[in-house]
Symmetry: C2
Subunit: 345 residues, 2 copies
Amino acid sequence: MTYLSKLVCVFSIFLVGNWAMGAGGKVSQKISDQNVVMAVHAGLGIEKSEMTPAIEKQFREDIEKALQAGYAVYAKKGGSLDMVEAAVKVMEDAPEFNAGKGAVFTHDGRNELDASIMSGKDLSAGAVAEVTTIKNPIALARLVMEKSPHVLLVGSGAEQFGSEVGVEIVDPSYFRTEQRYKEWQQMLKEEEKAKTGPRKSSLPPYHTWGTVGAVALDTSGDLAAGTSTGGMTNKRYGRVGDSPIIGAGTYAENGVAAISCTGHGEFFIRYAVAHDIISLMKYKGLSVQKAADEVLLGKLKKVGGEGGAIALDSHGRVAMPYNSEAMTRGYITKDGKTHIFLYEK
Amino acid sequence: MTYLSKLVCVFSIFLVGNWAMGAGGKVSQKISDQNVVMAVHAGLGIEKSEMTPAIEKQFREDIEKALQAGYAVYAKKGGSLDMVEAAVKVMEDAPEFNAGKGAVFTHDGRNELDASIMSGKDLSAGAVAEVTTIKNPIALARLVMEKSPHVLLVGSGAEQFGSEVGVEIVDPSYFRTEQRYKEWQQMLKEEEKAKTGPRKSSLPPYHTWGTVGAVALDTSGDLAAGTSTGGMTNKRYGRVGDSPIIGAGTYAENGVAAISCTGHGEFFIRYAVAHDIISLMKYKGLSVQKAADEVLLGKLKKVGGEGGAIALDSHGRVAMPYNSEAMTRGYITKDGKTHIFLYEK
């Protein structure tokens, strides 16, 4: 072997190695990851010790259904916004997840819902916060984007807008599930025991970071992202997390990536997580995996900001890092194959 | 002259030229700009054709007072958060500006206030939206940051938190000024004439983009930013703009910059303006002037996103670009000298 051919050989190994390892240098990155058309998440899940085969089966079925709902739109050459809305609606309707039906309870015993959606094509966006009567908050976020000159509508004003534009309205009791009610009651008890005052600069003794979200890339190359949540169990004082905040919980920009986050919302707002991943890709040239890892496994982990993100770039490469025990998530490739994960890193 | 000495000479001229032109390449950038300890803005002001000497005098006096309030804190080696809060309070109390007293009216005839504050030291942040009884929303945003585990509190929940932590509460009528009331009445009439329906995907026929904000750099090198607003005249449906959104209207990060924005909030949310300026500096190595110009005079101007920003970097360099007719703004240097601008670019 000549020196030159050795060099070519080493270089080829380097190239192939990089490709097989994926853009983020992770061995788990598979070839199929390059053809992803949609990814979804349903929050940080539940601790492995509390997981049962029945719950796990249900989670996997819900994620499969969400991915298939988005893929059905994709297969008909539908737009990425429609893909995101379809997938998020499935997860909002699933009582297992903390969004739409099955949302957690506030300190006052209400289910308050937040959601946002963004189009990578023109950076248009819509979001709602603290709605209590909108069956699918993601649908209202979409209507805010398309039928109003605004981005973020809050509370009863958002609901008034919703009723004017004909979104599906339900009685607040629709969102109630016994599981969430029990969790809230348990938390109230623990709070009473711990005498955790509202002014204390720390989090309640128990919390759930469930949130659902989807990112999609359609056949036209348009990216979109959406996120929906019931927020934090026992939340007070009109607390709003990162899910309805464009730049924090959701961002999409054609040619770069679409991002949806889940986790301890205050950290995601302060670190402008979704926009930071986008910026690291745009301005520093990082791959979607490296950018998402740097924010989730680097910056946030360092300060104790628990959470994860799904990020899909304009080439169909997906990254789904999280710094907690689990994240319920999955993706679907061009050929319609789904890949679903709960605890696997 | 030898070839080498000629080269050194040309290079020296290049260096000095760059220095005199400031980081952003603007001739208006003066040497004193390198020693700025605080900058403030009071929104996009009013059209030159409507300006009177009396209003201009009042605007200049208010800005001077705000800068001096922040400087008094600086001179005693106080922190940048205290500087920002002191300056913003002065502008909230000034009935001329659309924040605190003098806020614009919503469609329902209310004065709804939003504010946010952020510390560059640890990226802690606090924000409130849609409060109607808090005399100084910036003070409540600060309390959310320091006395709660949350970042963003909305509506009556935020007010309840405020009363528990002892913030100054006023009757909603405190915020009313005749000038703003007249503007609102005028707008209602114009809207009736134009039959602009609420569902139309465009803005109301008349709007004001007044907002106040401050950015500061203290003697310890800590940056902070804060923004406060009454929002958009005749706003409906619980619309929230960029001022209480960390990453959109406000951002601060030590070693980089502190940013406060004013303008058409929806664009500032969609473009994550404050965080984008920070990202261009951090990841692309742009100067504060170039980064702020790229976002305000480049991206936003291109899509018709009217507005401006004040940005102060960790070396005391300030940039205050805006793409509208005017922006009421000023800065103060280490030696206590103030520089106030209304229409001058």
